[in-house]
Amino acid sequence: MSFQTIQQQAKTEWELFDRPDRFRILVGSATCGRAAGSQEVIEKFREELANRHLLAETDIYEVGCLGLCYAEVLVEIQGKDGRRILYQSVEPRRVADLIDAQLVQGGIYEPLAMACTQSETDTSIPAFSDLEIMQSQVRIVLRNCGIIDPTNVEHYIARGGYSGLARALQMSADQVIEEIQQSGLRGRGGAGFPTGMKWSFARRTESDRKYVICNADEGDPGAFMDRSVLEGDPHAVLEGLLVAGYAIGADTGYVYCRAEYPLAIERLQQAIVQMHEKGLLGANILGSNFSFSIKIKKGAGAFVCGEETSLMQSIEGKRGMPRSKPPFPAVSGLFEKPTNINNVETLAAVSAIMEKGAAWYAGYGTEKSRGTKTFALAGKITRTGLIEVPMGISLRTIIEDIGGGVLDGKTFKAVQTGGPSGGCIPAQYIDLPVDYEHLAEVGSIMGSGGMIVIDEASCMVDMARYFLTFTENESCGKCVPCRMGTQHLLNILTDITQGKGKPEHLDTLRKIGATMKNGSLCGLGQTAANPVLTTLTHYEDEYLEHIDNLKCPAGACRSLIHFSIDAAQCTGCGACSRACPVDAISGTRKEPHAIDQQTCICCGSCRDACKFEAVLVS
């Protein structure tokens, strides 16, 4: 089949997706939507539509993540008038009202309506792209997420998919590499290595067999960009993998996806079947002499397997331990053959670049950091979600405009980027442009895109301790600096948070950190001390408060705080004593309550339960 024919078919199918004679309901059903209850909402739609005899003229689709995770379950309803309205926080009990308001009466269900998504303007409701959360975003990697049915390859093709591959196959491999180099794309897996250059190394190595790998291990705890792309638009990633394979001369690709993402794996499997059906995988793809096959490998729960050499060991069926480089994978990688490995987001950008051209992509971002970057915005932020912004945008725009500021109007303290390899950027840098260079300047890294907002209730020593608990647990133990270093750092940090810190500890932390940076075998150990070192740089006074005065200024370290009830504020409603898991709170109704300090475990449930701010932490 020629690509024109394939596109023509897809166009026909796409038109069926947008029919004026039918109602259409899209429900965000990625993992986050499902957790919020999308399946129950869909069930309810079926039931209520059937009650009204409308089910036969309605199409219901499960789509990927629009990125507005705070507003899940998201539902877009399109009536026969072509009007498309996006509703937020839909629960099964609201479904009947939604149907009646829009599909029966032709209006809008105001209480949950968020925006209109059709191309024509609608005076009664803002357009989706005008929402504060969308205004500064540019969606390239996320171009189809939440918009197409991710289980339908025709949708992807109808929106320009695989035309990048078709174009690449008309070019020479060197021309494709040149195009990616021109785009300025840098690897989104963390290190930011120029993608085109990496491809050229693997291309240059002579070998009978070469491999390309898509790294979908997404180990950074607090990041979900790659998951959303795989669930919402798997073909965008697989097309990128094919282009990479063609460029370096590989005939086999692997996708290494973490086992905690069952839906992503299912979508990838479906996508691969469809690619075979369309002649986009197998022998002589689109009539060219390029042949390619893809295998999916499930991770088995080891953070270090996100590191490229460990990942290859894991695919080979071994313990996922890193090895020293050189030789680099481009020379000797998987099964000792030249191998190119790229991150999910990198590959999804590649397919867009091949479709729209290097110059278009390079038009976004800054001189050294081209294009866009996705971030998983989470933590103490009002609008949690998945966002995509041009490089160089300020942290302030991300946190205040897109994220809607800190949750519950609390004070912004820091933002953590780069996960266990990164650092905490304090509030004073809120106007920092977000690109590789500026984040490195303040001691953090871009990382893969986790961005956790931290408010005044989080203790920075505890944050450092948290990350070291993680890396100590995940250190594979092969090299001494990482194995011993993470243990020592963790022990010291635990002592400090428990009021057993000593003044000389700070120096020791710095020394161990420096040794790990210089002496560790892989990126895990080389960067594991970063969360400690950056908090020491920016929050040394908080460390000293713990050590010198046995105080945790944030009120988070449990050995150093105690809870009490302010009798003047307490109304005696009893919410706290009901919430207390250990029955430490007693009192008569309508009288001030009291906490038994012997029984209290400082869990904070009473503080969360109290509506009168009567629970004090000191």
Binding site: K298, G301, E316, I452, I454, I601
Partner: protein
């Protein structure tokens, strides 16, 4: 469970896989999916099938957090300890679960009804803190809500 009676299903599962070492982890994953855990007999059978030593297979299996060597409880509870969940108080949730079923992560309750596991991020960070019970994801949890959820399962 892979005792005498299930040997045949284990054998037919093994037969679907080639003898290349590359198949070791996928094979262990499928065995665990089918039988809930890796029993000594299953490990031996996998080792035989791939012509590897049992030690080698255990070496690989113990490296990865996913593999279990004891049967899980009837209800398997996973509490997320990722960064987003941590800053939104996941340790209180873990404690609440530990208190209400009396076991620590990695353990199965004596009557076999629950097992508890700590996981580093489900990728549903926007709904933090997250608890997964028998593969259903529950978002925006609190200690009390989790306790109720467990009581409902009983």
């Amino acid at each position: 469970m892979p005792g005498q009676s299930t040997d045949s299903s284990l054998i037919s599962l093994l037969a679907e896989y080639g003898k290349e070492r590359e198949n070791l982890i996928p094979l262990l994953q499928e065995v665990q999916e089918r039988f809930q855990f890796l029993s000594p007999e299953a490990v031996r059978a996998v080792a035989d099938h791939l012509d590897l030593s049992e030690n080698d297979v255990y070496g690989v299996a113990t490296f990865y957090a996913q593999f279990r060597f004891v049967p899980p409880g009837l209800h398997h509870i996973k509490v997320c300890e990722g960064t987003a969940c941590h800053v939104r108080g996941s340790d209180h949730i873990l404690e609440a679960v530990e208190r209400s079923i009396g076991i620590k992560p990695g353990q199965t309750s004596e009557d076999g009804s629950y097992s508890l596991e700590r996981v580093a991020c489900f990728g549903s960070c926007a709904l933090a803190p997250v608890v997964v019970v028998d593969d259903k994801v529950h978002g925006r949890m609190t200690g009390n809500k989790t306790q109720k959820l467990i009581e409902e399962e009983e």
